[in-house]
Symmetry: C2
Subunit: 188 residues, 2 copies
């Protein structure tokens, strides 16, 4: 029997990604988000949603570029902290001792210490409500050599990304591989 | 040292959700997606991206409604199968023995056997490229009573949602709770 929980953002799971950007003065900034996801295969695009009140919202609107930086579970404290304070008043890179690296492809910095980073240029800005959605075309994905696995792709068991659960306001690690996609469910 | 992997949809993690809809004749249809995510808090909205070639794309365009159904890890075979065949030629509910339930709020069916379902009406349709993004306003979230936890919310450790890794084309289960959000990273 299903019970109504109301009109709430209770999707499970949501990602934990840190959005990198430059402000109007060229200062690197970052912000943690869970409202986002891949939204197109060709061109490859990722969407991130930001409240208008955030400092990052202004950075993306002006620079029309951002990075999506995927933290490893060991970096949960840094990622959480970056989501609780504003770049308007705090230099989050200095506070976390994370290192901004200027992208050669887009006008945004990525985070050196995070295992996987995605460089994007903004191609759509969609006003939805409290949040604005920025659709970024992915120009490159970069990963630390130590997390690479088969076929030179990032091995998720080495990256160890974690997820956010909006229902309980908590982070969860990744578990085990449970099957090959487009395969495990095929009927013989 | 970071290595370039190219302009690819290599975000980790992505969700595994099954989109429910009715076709023009009122036949219930469903399709598994990983390109999606929450995109606004007020109004609460979730976005799903679909290729124009899919049968579900036509259903959402016409009915302007859909459901997001969250499968549990035990339902990985059904969810995978639903992503490998087309509703144009196959009745996926009959093939999987899953049960469509008519939503009382939107013109779409949800899946009785899945632990959490989200009922949405389409408020934006955004052409990005190969994929079209449908932004749905969440009108209600329903969960099985047996997966409810503290404060009457869905307990993610009971729901057991799983994730898709685009890099390896595989599914992974959820791991352990690693911290409270907006808390674990706070500096004292």
């Amino acid at each position: 029997m299903k019970k109504s929980l109301g009109a709430k953002t209770l999707a499970q799971p949501t990602p934990v990604w840190v959005v990198g950007s430059y402000d109007s003065k060229g200062k690197p900034n970052m912000m943690t988000i869970a409202w986002g996801g891949i939204c197109c295969s060709q061109p490859p695009c990722v969407a991130v949603s930001l409240r208008k009140a955030t400092y990052t919202h202004g950075c993306l609107s002006e620079r029309r570029a951002f990075t999506v930086n995927i933290p490893s579970a060991a970096q949960v404290k840094e990622a959480d902290y970056v989501g609780t304070v504003s770049g308007r008043t705090i230099d989050k890179f200095a506070a976390t001792k994370l290192t901004p690296v200027r992208s050669e492809l887009v006008d945004a910095p990525y985070i050196q210490e995070f295992p996987v980073v995605i460089e994007c240029r903004v191609i759509h800005i969609i006003e939805i409500g409290l949040h604005t959605q920025f659709v970024g075309e992915i120009l490159d994905v970069k990963a630390e050599e130590e997390v690479l696995g088969e076929q030179g792709m990032a091995d998720i068991l080495k990256v160890k990304p974690f997820i956010f659960d909006p229902a309980q306001g908590a982070y969860y690690s990744l578990g085990e591989r449970i099957g090959k996609a487009f395969s495990i469910g095929r009927k013989s």
